[in-house]
């Protein structure tokens, strides 16, 4: 990236976006037959598939919580999802992300309705171009809803970063690698509750406040798209029933 700038003087990013603009987003719900719930989300070149199994019986049994469901989450990157082939064995990064994603999602689920069961969330990164944990959360949240699991709210996620001194939303891989700051963020938007926040890079207090506000605005947009994607799933279902019945 020597000499080349990621943000032009009139505030346009390397892929033509404005600072607070999301990449084009595609969401599809109910994409896998076997899973109880599933979703596929594309955000620019980042492509993620999420599936949910459960609530189901939990093995080994001693892992069961007597009073609520246990959420288990696996965030995993396909070996071909990145520039240099990644070993399919879970890395330390994937183990950490699986933990924070689980913690970002479980608050939104009525876990106490399913004691002693497991809700398994699988997130597969098929292609990685930045913000994979956030897109993974967006997909997993849709898959949970698609599985019919009672939820307090959907979880919407978006990363905010600082690139060449500017705060930007929905980082690409290039911006993540060459930028100064990456701040993944997830929120139960309807309830305004932050369920994931990580920061990697230096921000002053004022910048952090601004970044959080910016992330919230981005989550609002994603939240609306998630709701629409779920609606589309049921409109399609209704149509097929009506056609079948008629």
């Amino acid at each position: 990236m020597a000499g080349e700038r990621l943000i032009s003087s009139d505030g346009i990013r390397h892929d033509g976006r404005r600072l607070d603009e999301l990449r084009p987003i595609k969401m599809a719900v109910g994409v896998l037959k076997n899973a109880d719930g599933s979703a596929y989300v594309e955000q620019g070149n980042t492509k993620i598939l999420a599936a949910v199994y459960g609530p189901r019986s939990i093995h080994p049994r001693h892992l069961a919580y007597p009073d609520r469901a246990r959420v288990r989450c696996r965030y995993h990157m396909a070996p071909f999802s990145v520039e240099v082939r990644k070993s399919p064995a879970p890395s330390r990064r994937e183990i950490e992300l699986s933990k924070v994603i689980r913690e970002a999602l479980s608050h939104a689920i009525f876990l106490e309705q399913f004691p002693a069961t497991a809700i398994d969330v699988f997130i597969e990164v098929l292609e990685a171009d930045g913000s994979t944990r956030c897109v993974g959360i967006n997909a997993a949240s849709l898959a949970l809803a698609d599985a019919g699991i009672p939820m307090k709210d959907l979880v919407a996620a978006c990363a905010v970063g600082k690139v060449e001194g500017h705060l930007v939303v929905d980082l690409t891989d290039l911006e993540d690698k060459n930028g100064e700051v990456d701040m993944p963020f997830a929120m139960m938007y309807g309830r305004k509750k932050i369920t994931l926040l990580q920061l990697d890079g230096i921000l002053s207090y004022e910048e952090l406040c601004k970044a959080v506000d910016l992330a919230m605005t981005a989550c609002e947009k994603i939240y609306a798209m998630q709701k629409e994607a779920l609606k589309q799933r049921y409109l399609a279902l209704r149509k097929s029933i009506e056609e079948g019945g008629g």
């Binding site: 330390r92 183990i95 701040m183 305004k192 932050i194 926040l197 920061l199 890079g201 230096i202």
Partner: protein, 264 residues
């Protein structure tokens, strides 16, 4: 697991602005930092936060750089939650909690540029200094991150790196001669727990068990260089902002502990 009685006690005390160990909401436990305890390590520090006890050892070793950063030294942070530290810790490879702790500290060191890795290069593409930071949790009574981060910075600050001479494509290490490592400003981490709507710093284990969620903020100077929300609960926007300003303020106390360290 925490008993219902204790949980109720913690929550009702917090309602009146008090904590189970008599501290105020924004008060750390007694902080003790000791350095140079392990003579075979190149740097070491033991930090206690009340009954939480963490030992950190630093070792410098000559090795190959990462292929994508041929002219940078290597910094590796690992954490072991030893089975002797808590009835809930089991032997085996680091679990997700240990990995998370090590990675948060690793990020805070990297983003604050604590160790100047450009100065740890010996022969580009071939030999560099590898700084191994090993975090050993010896007794767990909550807030392992703050204790580990402080011990890591203290161990690095008081560490000595052996002298290395480059002769052609060979590196000769002179262990008898030691120099201070190339450090800039070192980060400290302040963890804020949210318990029943109250924000408290430096939670003890019982408080962590009751907490909705925690957020660890690493501070360098008066800025935040890393953060991690932990736990299944959530934060309001205003709470995150409050936690950030609280972290920046409380960081000064921890930074003072580093300033007071005896010079190696």
């Amino acid at each position: 697991m925490i008993s219902k009685v204790k949980k109720a006690q913690i929550l009702s005390l917090l309602n009146s602005g008090k904590r189970i160990d008599g501290r105020s909401l924004e008060q750390y436990r007694q902080i003790k930092v000791e350095t140079n305890l392990i003579s075979r390590a190149d740097g070491s520090a033991r930090v206690s936060l009340g009954d939480t006890l963490v030992l950190v050892g630093v070792k410098y070793e000559v090795g190959p750089p990462f292929p994508d950063t041929p002219d940078l030294g290597v910094l590796t942070v690992n954490a072991e939650f030893l089975p002797l530290a808590s009835p809930t810790f089991e032997s085996g490879p680091p679990d997700e909690n240990a990995i998370e702790l090590a990675r948060v500290i690793d990020r805070s060191l990297r983003k604050s540029n604590a160790v100047d890795l450009t100065k740890l290069c010996l022969i580009p593409g071939k030999s560099v200094w590898i700084a191994w930071v090993d975090i050993y949790v010896l007794n767990h009574d909550g807030n392992l991150i703050d204790a580990s981060a402080l011990a890591t910075s203290a161990a690095l600050l008081t560490s000595k790196i052996p002298k290395a001479e480059v002769e052609g494509d060979k590196v000769k290490v002179i262990y008898e001669e030691r120099l201070p490592p190339p450090l800039t400003s070192l980060p400290v981490t302040v963890t804020v727990a949210k318990i029943g709507g109250a924000l408290v710093v430096d939670p003890v284990l019982d408080e962590e068990e009751v907490a909705d969620a925690k957020i660890a903020m690493s501070v360098v100077g008066d800025k935040i260089c890393a953060a991690q929300k932990m736990g299944e609960g959530s934060f309001e926007v205003a709470e995150v902002k409050k936690a950030a300003s609280l972290a920046i303020e409380k960081a000064k106390e921890l930074q003072d502990k580093l300033i007071q360290l005896p010079k190696p």
